[in-house]
Symmetry: C2
Subunit: 187 residues, 2 copies
DNA sequence: TTCGGCATGTAACTCGTTACATGATTTT
DNA sequence: AAAATCATGTAACGAGTTACATGCCGAA
């Protein structure tokens, strides 16, 4: 009974490395691309974690040289690492606490604003959400012709992207509903 | 130009106290009731924050006695505190990074599972989400007869609850879509 | 009288961010 | 020659959790 704490970054990294060999830099790049729609991490968190996972014997690396001298550590899973990842992957966990949302917190206190102020705030937020939605839809274009096969790793990419789009649309619907409610309800 | 860091807990507490006088215990209770749908905090974080806000001159308290000796610190905003809260409330901020989601992370790596395993995991998660949705709908019942007026503090309660319901439905739609996709797409 | 809820706090720890620090390689 | 990107790390701090620690009050 270890791992009372979650260490999700650990498994995110193991999962990425299980797909293909990667350096810390590569991992950081992934965490700031499409993956960022449900997980992210900075290199300052990644490098120490890679060191720790190496010490725990879950991953190992070879040093590759780019150009003349620049060193690059390319990591892969050990059998222990692959087993640890597998075990985590199929674990059925309780719902996490709802993530914090500063905008919703503001809306909770909306009675402290003028209706006009509040609507302005919502409209600005809505514009950002619409831009984000447009970006996500653009990302999903390559998948629209044919849904990837379940056993390819593009299947995971595809479903989480679809999820992000649905989540974004739901936020937008809510914001529009808020605007309607304010108009219909202010004294 | 202070507050480069966010200190959102600070404003969540100021906002709660602005509605009515509260003790640390009361605040902790709020943070684990309906409010938990977009913000939460434990008493171990709240008490030190209250101390800090008092030192900063944003809140002040009277000690009330319950029964014979039990002391209770009832906090209220100072004028400075009210001003600081107002300023934060109407601030238009950038979109936050998408919140982390362990379940979506697992789905991203779904090609590491058998289709049957994956569907089982999704169904278990779906059941939890449906329970949560039922709970949220129950919470929203008191508001259904008449939408609260914009200037009452029940308006904020109402719209964030509606938002939580819409978000939950969107998650559920996505999970059902995932199940359909797996069925339609496995080799 | 015991149990659940009221009430307040601190300590140790994990997780995550920003900033500090360095240097090589490729592209313009 | 400069700028962007590749590449790896550490230090200091802020945010949040779990566990420790104490004690009162009201109801069954």
């Amino acid at each position: 009974m270890e791992d009372g704490i979650l260490r999700t970054l650990k498994y995110a990294i193991l999962g990425l490395i299980s797909r293909k060999e990667m350096s810390g830099y590569d991992i950081a790049r992934e965490f700031n691309a499409e993956l960022a729609n449900f997980w992210h991490a900075k290199h300052s968190q990644i490098y120490p974690e890679l060191k720790k996972l190496t010490e725990e014997g879950l991953i190992e690396f070879d040093v590759k040289i780019s150009g003349e001298v620049l060193e690059k550590k390319v990591y892969r899973l050990t059998p222990d690492g692959a087993a640890a990842f597998r075990e985590w992957l199929v674990k059925d966990e309780e719902l996490e606490p709802t993530p914090k949302d500063v905008f919703r917190l503001r809306m909770y206190f909306s009675n402290g604003m003028q209706a006009a102020e509040c609507k302005k705030l919502i409209k600005a937020h809505l514009a950002r959400r619409l831009r984000k939605l447009a970006y996500l839809i653009k990302c999903s274009e390559p998948y629209q012709e044919a849904v990837p096969n379940f056993h390819s790793d593009r299947f995971g990419d595809y479903i989480v992207l679809e999820g992000a789009i649905m989540r974004e649309r739901s936020s937008i619907d809510w914001l529009e509903e808020c605007l309607r409610l304010i108009d219909s309800v202010q004294a």
